[in-house]
């Protein structure tokens, strides 16, 4: 049974029956004027307004979905890269320290301490050497003076006797 019931029977034999048929033709003409894409346009509008999250109507070109996905991935990659660069920029510039370098620094530090202690020891040895040299120089000086005085006494005795 169609909803469009034929209850124009009340017009049977009436002069209005012809007008009724003409109006049915007019209604048919108006429905036929609808564009070919009316139904698909209505379905698109429903999908867009009521369920925007599930916009995957078969007629929608797939390229747009692909493009939006690519855009999303590109944006995510750019964001990660940007954060990385920003982090590097905010840190003071220095060569990266590796485990090998750390152990090397500790070895070098130990060597420095040893060198310092050795120098300190050397310094005290030098002091002692200088003191010894000073004593030796004093001794040599007094020895030289004594010899010189003895020579002077000899000369004076020669002059008195007229001969050595």
């Amino acid at each position: 049974m169609s909803t469009y019931e034929n209850n124009e029977n009340y017009l049977a034999g009436s002069p209005q029956a012809e007008m009724n048929d003409l109006l049915n033709d007019l209604g048919h003409a108006e429905r036929s004027r609808a564009p070919a894409g009316l139904e698909s346009g209505v379905l698109d509008a429903i999908a867009k307004q009521v369920a925007p999250a599930s916009l995957s109507i078969e007629q929608t070109p797939r390229i747009s979905v692909w493009f939006s996905k690519t855009l999303k991935y590109s944006a995510a990659a750019a964001l990660v890269l940007g954060v990385g660069v920003a982090t590097m920029m905010t840190r003071p510039w220095q060569a990266p320290i590796t485990t090998t370098d750390t152990s090397m620094i500790s070895v070098m530090f130990q060597e420095d301490i040893e060198s310092f202690l050795a120098l300190d020891e050397l310094d005290s040895e030098i002091d002692e050497s200088v003191a010894e040299l000073s004593i030796w120089a004093h001794a040599l000086d007094s020895e030289f003076n004594d010899s010189w005085m003895a020579l002077d006494l000899m000369e004076s005795s020669l002059d008195t006797n007229g001969a050595l």
Partner: protein
């Protein structure tokens, strides 16, 4: 939620006896149910809107807007409260939408001479092989434009929207007997006006005195 909808080129050949299961499926977001509903009613809604607005694009917009409203109501929290009365409900939404637009047009737009519009339509339709029939339909549109809003609504719901008198009675809240009487009176009025027009014009469409 309405799921992804796919467009099927096939159309249902006839309306199901009981729309209930189809409406229930559509409310659950069944894709095929929506396609069937739109195939069944989109052109009828379009015809109603076009008859009043004389504009294909506007009629298409109205049709889309009506179905979006229906989809939102069916899928909304308030649910579908018009059980068993889907068609009167659908065409009530259509009529309200068309009335609103007509009111806005009257308020803002420059008045349009319906005879001028009909002449345009007739000129476009002259390309069609059924020239005489188109002329008759053009005349009919002109006469329809002259009817009162109340009479016009009955004619459009009946002949453009293809509603039964029972459904129109539900929609307008009037007894079927009253509607039949008003329909009959409107037809008579239209016939008389067309006869008067034909008396004043010759067979070439010109006024009799010029023909």
């Amino acid at each position: 939620m309405v799921p992804a909808l796919s467009i099927h080129p096939t159309r249902p050949t006839e309306q199901p006896n009981d729309l209930g299961p189809l409406i229930a499926l559509a409310a659950q977001g069944d894709e095929r149910a929506w396609v069937d509903l739109v195939d069944l009613y989109a052109r009828r809604v379009f015809a109603m809107a076009r008859s009043r607005l004389h504009d294909d694009e506007l009629a298409e917009e109205i049709t889309q807007s009506v179905f979006v409203t229906v989809a939102m109501k069916l899928n909304g929290n308030e649910g579908y409260a018009e059980m068993g009365r889907f068609e009167p409900w659908l065409f009530r939404i259509t009529m309200n939408r068309v009335r609103d637009l007509c009111r806005k047009r009257k308020r803002h737009a420059t008045p349009t001479d319906p005879e001028h519009l009909n002449r345009h339509e007739s000129k476009d339709e002259q390309d069609d092989a059924k020239e005489t029939k188109q002329a008759e339909l053009g005349q009919l549109r002109e006469v329809l434009d002259r009817l009162s809003d109340a009479d016009r609504e009955i004619i459009e719901l009946r002949h453009h929207g293809q509603l039964s008198f029972k459904q129109i009675a539900e929609l307008l809240g009037q007894p079927v007997g009253t509607l039949l009487a008003r329909h009959h009176r409107a037809l008579k009025k239209m016939r008389e006006q067309i006869e008067a027009m034909n008396q004043n014009t010759g067979s070439n469409g010109l006024p009799k005195e010029q023909a």
